[in-house]
Assembly symmetry: C2
Homo-oligomer: 255 residues x 2
Amino acid sequence: KKKIYSVINQKGGVGKTTTTINLGTAMAACDAKVLLIDMDPQGNLSTGLGVPPINRATGIYNILTSNKKIQDCLLKTEIPNLDLVTANDDLLGVEIELSSSDDRALRLKKALEGVNNYDFILLDCPPALNIITLNALAASDGALVPLQAEFYALEGLSQLLKTIKSISSTVNSRLKLSGVVLTMFDKRNNLSVQVEEDVRGYLGGDVFLTKIPRNIRLSEAPSHGLPALIYDHKCTGSKAYIDLAREFLKREGWK
Amino acid sequence: KKKIYSVINQKGGVGKTTTTINLGTAMAACDAKVLLIDMDPQGNLSTGLGVPPINRATGIYNILTSNKKIQDCLLKTEIPNLDLVTANDDLLGVEIELSSSDDRALRLKKALEGVNNYDFILLDCPPALNIITLNALAASDGALVPLQAEFYALEGLSQLLKTIKSISSTVNSRLKLSGVVLTMFDKRNNLSVQVEEDVRGYLGGDVFLTKIPRNIRLSEAPSHGLPALIYDHKCTGSKAYIDLAREFLKREGWK
Ligand SMILES: Nc1ncnc2c1ncn2[C@@H]1O[C@H](COP(=O)(O)OP(=O)(O)OP(=O)(O)O)[C@@H](O)[C@H]1O
Ligand SMILES: Nc1ncnc2c1ncn2[C@@H]1O[C@H](COP(=O)(O)OP(=O)(O)OP(=O)(O)O)[C@@H](O)[C@H]1O
Ligand SMILES: [Mg+2]
Ligand SMILES: [Mg+2]
């Protein structure tokens, strides 16, 4: 039975897309069958996996607004066990287009019900709390929260946790916080160390032990259309995402 | 006569809030009368200027959804010549609340018509292209675009420039691109250098000569509720924002 996760944080630029791509790739390398879904009109996940804009004509927009099946929209990537549903800027119109339909928050959940050939599905969310992230959370078993080790990012965490709690007590009772992962962490920098202390003090075991360090190779990889794990599997960023995948799969009880 | 600018980029975490606070403070130090408006439900601008959440009860949400006047919502900061309108998470409901009203894109423009005691107004936008950023662009003379020197950020630039052009040919004919400012720039890093070459090649004189370097003091300042210019006026980040203010005021023909 598949497990669905929203990679979510309304704070911008905290590493949601980078985490979705590299954690997804590392899990696929552990023989899990993984589907990544780009939920962001910017389409960064699609770019990071090398899909040019002309190949994004059908994707998540069609799934949310018409009854197109996931199976009809997904693309195979060059990475074994890893498939992708792309996004384009048609998504910008979704909030208005769905505003009058009763099941507007449950479109993705319904579309994913018929999909059964994956072990894990990761949803890369935009930096917002809107109808798109609502669809993601309503469809998910867990919320995976990348947290940049910076002050503004820490401040937004309590608003996000409140939103996750309210979704799980209304629209989706199976939703839980799967964990918070510290990103762009620099152990020489007081702010990073301080944020880690604060968030472990506040959330304890809900914070992954694995931290993702700031590593330039992670931000170079997207310009080659490759996950960092393929672009440079020896760099500290790739190693950290492999560790994160192991820790994540263990926590989720994967073989 | 006042000039209004949207500090905007739908890519998250590129330095919009950091630029609004520090450019605004540097302009106020040059004796310009400046109003900063927080347009983001995260309220990072309000935090960065030291306003605790309990003092954000009335702000931009009230201006957009009821006919509260700007003069009734603004707060004086401890910085001479710098005032602030705060934001809170009530803003999350604005997209739906305004969806049925005809003038939904022009609420801010109308509210700002009656405000005449400022030289410059800066609007700190959320990382999205939605009704909030539409209100900001519809009310603005110019769009100021912070651009993180990274691949995903560069990729989103053309979508943003398209949006600015389409707003200026429909809702607001006076809107122009005021300039792109490179942020978190690291001259030792190839990616930064490459992005600068690409964007200057593509946009020429529309890119400010001043670049904002990556500087940890800029990200420490918000935890003290102070602009970096006050927290540490000697650091490279503060100096860069002072240079940016000079360049910006010169381009805009300020005394
Ligand atoms: N650990 C890291 N070290 C260095 N750079 C990183 C790291 N993680 C992400 N980056 C870079 O930082 C920027 C922001 O990351 P990313 O785009 O993944 O964040 P995001 O949360 O998905 O952003 P958005 O809110 O816009 O969707 C990108 O340019 C990315 O390449
Ligand atoms: N030049 C810089 N050097 C180092 N850190 C910076 C710099 N500019 C901004 N930061 C830090 O990077 C993070 C992102 O910046 P900021 O929050 O200003 O971006 P934003 O575009 O407003 O984000 P959002 O899209 O969430 O609104 C913050 O933690 C900030 O403190
Ligand atoms: Mg992203
Ligand atoms: Mg911001």
